[in-house]
Amino acid sequence: MAEGNIRELVAFRIDAEEFAVDIGSVQEINRVTEVRKIPNAPPHVQGVINLRGKITPVVDLRGMLGFEARATDAQSRIIVVEVGGVVVGFLVDAVSEVVRLPKASIDAPPSVAGVDSAFVDGVGKMDKRLLILLDLQKMFLSPEGPRVAGLG
């Protein structure tokens, strides 16, 4: 949610990188429950979880961003977002905090090594930290995202 020139974001960590998404899209943050695999699922769709009675798909954000898979631990969380009417969850290694970043501190996305810049909205600077802002629309609703079912 952007109020004037501040963006409110939820920051989280995958491996050693920090990312952030707009707080307006975040529905909830849960502890990790078992993700039920779906046979012949479209690429990057890890499976589904039971979110208070609703079947919610979980997307492999790590994979989409080019990170290798890793086992979850006590700090791992599932962030559930709503994008364009679709509710989707993704696993992260840890959730840091809610940050309020002035727009002035956000740079346009450069080509950041190791991360597909198609999904990056910008890079935020906070003290010594760099937050890679993710464009959820592009990640989940575009052809490059999990939507592509191919012939499957």
Partner: protein, 594 residues
Amino acid sequence: MSDELIDGDELQEIIQEFIVECTDLIDSAIRDLVGAERDPSPQVINSLFRAVHTIKGTSAFLGFTQLSTLAHRAEDVLGRARKAEIALEPAIITTLLKAMDVMKLLVDDISSSGKEARDITRLLSELDAVTTNSLPATPWPTSASCEPAGEMPNDLKHQAAEPTEYGELARSGGDEPAGQNGQNGQESHEAKSLSGKEQTVRVDVRKLDELMNLAGELVLGKNRLALLNVLLKERGDTRDGLLDTLAEVTNYIEMLTNDLQVAVMKARLVPISKLFNKVPRLVRDVCAACGKEADLQIEGGETELDKSLIETLQDPLTHVIRNAVDHGIEGPVERREKGKDPRGRVLLKAYSQGNQVVIDIVDDGRGIDADALRARVVEKGLALPAEVERMAAEELSNFIFLPGLSTAREVTSVSGRGVGMDVVKTNIERINGHVYVNSEKGRGTRLTITLPLTLAIMKALLVRVGGDLYAVPLSVVMEVVKPSQGLIKRVRGSEVLVLREEIIPLLPLSKILSCGLTREEESSVIICKGPDRPIGLRVESVVGQEEVVIKSLGEFLKGVKWVSGATIRGDGEIALILDLAGIMANSYRPRAAA
């Protein structure tokens, strides 16, 4: 029409009812007309006459003069046909069908603006021309142009000797075409509703949606209650009979919930004939437009499905039928050259299977040319030549669902632009259904559409495959056996179970669901009702029976194969519901000659 006798609101209501009744009468008249072309029995002609007569009367009463005049002219034609003064030749049928279409348009005009707004003078003179110029009829039953029902032409008999999936079309030609029965059977039903009072209420579908959701949530609550009961029982506190009372109440709620759920489901169901009824006319029109000859057979019109699905299926069904006639079925000359009956056959069949409704559209036309398809796929850059070479027929035929992939040699006015099948697939998947195609070059094509029954609270058999939980609709399950109870053999590369002298093909679920299970771990076989014979599913273990609420997999996973939904058990674990009809339609080979 004096307004003092009937006030404004009441008049509106009367007009609304008139619109509904008229539309129904016109629709059934259209069906009757198409049926009368093949078999102009007195009953059908009478039914047509009565329908048009009623339209004439009620529209006159309400002051809709154009509709009334048009109906009157049509009535004149039908009156003469009734007296055998004229024969209902195709040209006359076409004119009458035109009249019906215009009547419908007039009704639409009335519905949207309250007034008729068309110029029907040309149509009226056409109808007049028919009545004055036509030849007298030969006494019914008419001559050789009508194929006597129940006889199979010789070429088809020859085909029937080799039973294949398409052979079933020839075989069933031996029975009186179901569509015909439908016409006559329909007709007596029509007679009742013309005079009778209907005990129906029109309900907004959204209200039914709401009821459905509530019923579903109630079942989930009931499941949790039942689980609690079990847990408390295990604690063994039987003092003061409180536990017993709780159990009793839980049972009662369970019973009520079941009944409520069934009632809500039933309220939403309508017979699929509502959808199928437009098809005879469609086939007639497409045949005329493309110069083909085809007989349509409809089976299972009484199969019920959720009201919400009917509308969504109109377009896809229309497109598939058009395709079957336009591209599938060859012209009469070509068919004769191939040794086929010059009249093609299209079978439209519906049946329910567990918690699904299955619609088959089968034609005995030229089938999908696998080589031409391969070439097209490579040409469009969708796959490499090496890849398509390796693909089995089923995988290959899935390509026809991609946009722009028509292999029709010319783009006809009816279809062929290649934009159809992908839209069909998308529309079907939007309602949680699946489409499968099976084809044999030269013999024909079968398209199978599977649809879930929307309020899906169903009894299921829970099984584990590859450690994961799956639900199989209990209604398709015939029995559960251990492989050792029978004999497992390999026939032409597939496994079968020989059980009590019956050969049951086995489907390796672990392979289909990509679980990578080894044979030893598959300890049970679930024998299910297949499309035309029992089929066995190999699973790791059987967990038990349970009543499950089917939840949609959501947007991302709508198109996933083999799975039609998911359910959450009382303990929170997710079980995936198997799309059995789809699995069977796609994976299993038709009954091979023994």
